[in-house]
């Protein structure tokens, strides 16, 4: 078991209970021991920053300071919620970048008897920890029920891959981490080009028409990609797409029924636990019918070894671009 500091965030206790429960169930099998920071407070989501800057950062930094106090060997602070992950790393980054700003935040923290040393903890998202630290091989070994036949649309939303202050993801536009994780579970991952598009965020609250258009685009894209389920890493995305889908349907006179669940739920499913026990059914667009698509087909054969020379296509078609692999001296 590897110990990590853990910041759950408010949603995990209310609308994202399925996320919390499924995470609790898979943490043990994955060998991760999440130590929740005692008495953490809300990260302010996207709201506090829009009212005042320094108090918003002080609010976030209180959590970082609490984490620093209990570091004890494990300096990685895992966040499961996107907004929380973004805010914690944003505050850490802003404080590390400017000593002057860091001093101001710490002056405020001092009023509560706290202090945070920039970069004392490394903020990482749960998905990043599972893919990079636990490793896909370890995940694969735990799979008892390959999710063959289940077509999943991986959906990350905005705040996990962007702005990526610490350079954790393969890409800020089209990161592949979630895709690779779902493939490791045996599922079929559809090409979902909207995987880092916005779900509307707080616009469901303050500008619903704007949000509905975004939600429609996302569920429409998933449906056109022939996905059974959308899989997300973010409570806000799950909430917006799931809970507001009917209102969106009413608004546009459409009838989309695209369920969306947390990636931890899908992992737990592949680890062989009955769907009801892992929060399936809590969503307003029921995901359970989609699970019927899981077939017991044998595992697909391993990928064929790379063909040295791809066969020349018949007909007049032009070859697709072949370029040097990335990272070759690129700055």
């Amino acid at each position: 078991m590897t110990r990590y500091l853990y910041y759950p965030g408010c949603s995990m206790e209310s609308n994202a209970r399925a996320y919390r429960d499924s995470l609790a169930a898979i943490a043990g099998p994955l060998g991760i021991d999440l130590r929740e920071i005692d008495d953490w407070n809300c990260c302010g989501a996207t709201e506090y920053l829009g009212l005042s800057r320094l108090p918003a950062y002080a609010l976030i930094a209180r959590n970082l300071a609490l984490a620093e106090q209990v570091r004890d060997g494990s300096e990685v602070l895992v966040a499961s919620c996107s907004a929380c992950f973004l805010n914690l790393s944003k505050a850490n980054h802003a404080m590390a970048e400017s000593a002057a700003f860091s001093a101001q935040v710490n002056e405020a923290l001092a009023a509560g008897g706290l202090h945070y040393t920039p970069d004392a903890v490394k903020v990482r998202h749960l998905l990043d920890v599972i893919v990079r630290e636990v490793g896909l091989d370890a995940v694969r070994r735990r799979v008892t029920r390959r999710l063959c036949g289940l077509k999943l649309a991986p959906y990350l939303g905005c705040m996990v891959p962007r702005p990526d202050y610490d350079g954790r993801w393969t890409d800020r536009e089209r990161p592949s981490e979630l895709d690779r994780l779902l493939v490791a579970l045996g599922a079929e991952v559809v090409d979902y080009p909207l995987k880092t598009e916005c779900c509307g965020g707080h616009m469901t609250q303050i500008g619903p028409e704007t949000a509905f258009a975004m939600i429609r685009r996302l569920v429409d894209g998933a449906e056109r990609a022939d996905a059974d389920l959308m899989v997300t890493v973010c409570p806000m995305c799950q909430m917006n797409i799931d809970a507001f889908q009917q209102e969106m349907n009413a608004h546009f006179r459409t009838s989309y029924q695209m369920p969306i669940v947390f990636f931890t739920q899908v992992i737990r499913l592949a680890f062989g636990i009955a769907p009801e026990a892992l929060g399936f059914g809590r969503e307003l667009v029921d995901a359970r019918p989609a699970l019927a698509h899981i077939s017991d087909a044998p595992a697909p054969p391993p990928e064929p070894a790379r063909v040295r020379r791809p066969p020349r296509p018949k007909g007049p078609a032009l070859p697709m671009p072949v370029m040097p692999e990335r990272g070759d001296g690129a700055t």
Binding site: A317, L318, G329, A330, T331
Partner: protein
């Protein structure tokens, strides 16, 4: 006191300069540049009185010291007043050190007994308080006076110049340089990595802004270079090692095995006709076409001999096939041919190694490599080329469909701090050329998405005007993303360019069938390695650095090594050709002098002090240091040494000393700057004393 200053001021050399120092101090007003902030007269008077004990015998000021009248003043006083050392307090040595040294030389004084200290860049330009700036100017002058006392007479080293030249890179820049030199009657070795001359220009169909056929203007130059009696053409070759110094380089070149006997091959083409292996040609066809395993890159290739691509040839894979060998009429195929190493002596080197294209997959939102109908600029060059894979038909990736609407995206990987900060200079004009070709070939609607339109050369903006007249639709805005179209009729099955039309202030979704990216130009992948091999440096971006960005654009900091074309930074064909010729002219100037003088800023080893510890041995960026195993002593080749001082700083024994920047010169200048030696100040409590420094 035993701690002698190393280098420079051998007391005996200094005294040879004519007995006791008789120093002349010349303070320049630089109009109001200096005099506006510094009380020049006060500095002059202070130097004349307070530095008299330090050897100053005369101090003068003048409005513009660098003018001919100012120089004459210095020359006159050297002759008439027996001045044997000169301190000019004016601008940065970068500007006028040469001017005043030459003036001294005219008056019969060794030019290295003249010091230029800056009271402009380091004083008047950076201060506002007149009194304080004046005091600082005095200190700077005192530093110069202390320093000049330790200056020694130096004589430039003269080295003969070998008349041959090495030109690296067989693109249009290298070809131009080689032809200029060869036509002047001097031998040239023209080295090209690819099997044929031509470079990027050979891939283009048309050149902007005149729309000349690229091949029509390039091919004659290639042929001329290939058959010129003074040019030794070494294609499919690379420079492995460079030794020696300006005038006398020894270059080792690896001639990669073509597997073809060039003395027999007639270039008839039967071999590549018969070869059964077709591979995607990522080089000349930019991945858009195929070539055989034995091939010439393109029909007009110079030389006409093919090469066998060993990585893809069935014979090297499985030991069978040999079709080319069987069918070759003159029996020129040589499967067992090995690389050859060739050593040549040259006097100068011109690097014209060009650029490479930015990998557009690094901008994932543009979909290159994922969305079939997104093309790179080079792909489009081949697509539109009459000799290209489609015979010049502009079609989609399916090879059939003509586009109805085409989007051209500027600044892909340029002007973006996430990729390359610089502007790639050619893309605006290149994109306009693309727009014209698309209109001409297909009549499609063309959207040209740009940030700023940059057309600043002869005939360029006129070309832009022409494209406006032709009906190209210009959209000012950096493209945000390119994606597959949505379900609407106008978008379905097409690409959508999402962009803010900044002139309207609204976001637009523009459906098109094809997108052409105007990729940035980047330094060659191995530019840094190559630069190091030739002893020059690259900027942070990776472009090779010229000696002076304005006044010496083709020379480098290494004597005898010149750079031309896009290796030095993104540039278009006219500029590249001009630089090739300019580099050749610089080389010719050297060759015709027969020999050249090297700046005597040099390091040398005192063999008595050198213990052979070998700390310095690996450090020289110019490969000037060798170790004599027998004498257990390090030596420095004075012609190779550029006086950078790396070894001097590293030598723990102080056995290596440098001229012009000797320890005694620097420490005495510091003493002067701190006014430790001026008569007006009290004797300091702690003073740096050195052997040979009169207390």
């Amino acid at each position: 006191m035993t701690h002698a200053g190393n280098g420079g001021p051998r007391p005996e050399t200094a005294s040879a300069a004519a007995g006791d120092p008789r120093i002349g101090v010349y303070v320049c007003h630089c109009g109001s540049n200096i005099a506006g902030t510094v009380d020049v007269a006060a500095v002059r008077d202070w130097a004349a009185t307070q530095l008299r004990s330090r050897g100053v015998v005369v101090a003068q000021d003048y409005r513009f010291m660098c003018s001919s009248l100012g120089q004459e003043l210095i020359e006159r006083e050297i002759r008439e007043k027996g001045i044997n050392r000169v301190v000019v307090a004016a601008c940065s040595p970068h500007l006028h050190e040469g001017t005043f040294r030459t003036a001294c030389e005219h008056a019969g004084l060794n030019p290295y007994l003249c010091e230029l200290v800056s009271i402009r860049e380091q004083d008047s330009w950076v201060h506002a308080d007149r009194a304080a700036a004046t005091e600082k100017a005095k200190a700077i002058v005192a530093g110069g006076v202390e320093r000049v006392r330790h200056d020694a007479e130096l004589v430039p080293l003269r080295v003969p110049i070998h008349p041959a030249t090495l030109v690296v890179g067989g693109g249009i820049g290298g070809i131009s340089a080689a032809l200029e030199l060869a036509n002047a009657g001097y031998p040239v070795y023209l080295v090209e990595r690819e099997p044929s001359l031509g470079g990027h220009m050979a891939q283009f169909d048309k050149t902007f802004p005149t729309l000349d056929c690229s091949a029509c203007i390039l091919t004659p130059r290639m042929v001329e270079a290939g058959s010129h009696p003074n040019i030794t053409l070494l294609t499919y070759s690379e420079v492995e090692r460079v030794e020696g110094y300006v005038g006398n380089f020894t270059v080792t070149i690896r001639r990669r095995a073509r597997q073809v006997d060039e003395s027999l091959c007639t270039g008839c083409g039967i071999c590549w006709e018969k070869c059964p292996v077709a591979v995607i040609d990522t080089q000349f066809e930019a991945g858009l076409g195929y070539r055989k395993a034995i091939y010439v890159p393109f029909p007009q290739a110079v030389p006409k001999f093919p090469v066998i691509d060993r990585d893809n040839c069935t014979y090297y894979e499985r030991g069978t096939c040999r079709a080319c060998e069987k069918f070759c009429p003159p029996q020129a195929i040589r499967f067992d041919q090995d690389d050859e190493l060739l050593t040549v002596d040259v006097g100068a080197i011109v690097l014209a190694t060009g650029f490479r294209l930015f990998d557009a997959r690094r901008v994932p939102q543009y979909g290159y490599g994922r969305l079939p109908n997104v093309f790179s600029s080079l792909e489009f060059e081949r697509l539109s080329n009459a000799a290209g894979p489609t015979g010049g038909r502009v079609v989609l990736r399916d090879g059939v469909t003509e586009p109805r609407a085409v989007g051209i995206v500027h600044c892909v990987g340029s002007r973006d701090r996430a990729y390359n900060w610089y502007c790639s200079a050619i893309c605006c004009m290149q994109s306009l050329k693309f727009a014209h070709l698309v209109r001409e070939r297909t009549g499609a609607t063309v959207y040209e998405c740009y940030i700023d339109m940059r057309t600043p050369a002869k005939g360029y903006d006129e070309f832009y005007q022409r494209l406006i007249e032709e009906g190209t639709l210009f959209v000012r805005g950096k493209v945000a993303a390119i994606s597959e179209g949505g379900p609407t009729p106008e978008e379905a099955g097409r690409l959508v360019i999402q962009v803010e039309d900044t002139l309207v202030g609204r976001q637009r979704r523009i459906p098109v069938d094809m997108v052409i990216l105007s990729n940035a130009l980047e330094p060659q992948a191995d530019a840094r390695e190559v630069a190091k091999r030739f002893g020059i440096s690259c900027s942070l971006d990776g472009w090779m650095i010229e000696r002076h960005p304005k006044l010496d654009p083709v020379a480098t900091m290494t004597e005898g090594v010149f750079v031309a074309g896009a290796a030095q930074g993104p540039k278009d064909i006219p500029t590249t050709v001009a630089q090739g010729a300019a580099a050749a002219a610089r080389v010719l100037g050297r060759i015709q002098q027969g020999e050249m003088a090297l700046e005597p800023i040099r390091a040398s080893v005192d063999a008595v002090r050198c213990s052979g510890c070998r700390i310095c041995n690996n450090l020289c960026p110019f490969n000037a240091i060798t170790f004599d195993e027998d004498r257990m002593s390090t030596e420095i080749n004075p012609a190779l040494c550029q006086g950078c001082g790396t070894c001097i700083a590293a030598c723990p024994a102080g056995a290596i000393s440098g001229t012009v920047f000797g320890t005694a010169q620097i420490l005495s200048q510091i003493d002067g700057l701190l006014l430790r030696t001026a008569a007006a100040t009290a004797e300091p409590a702690v003073s740096v004393q050195l052997e040979g420094v009169p207390a």
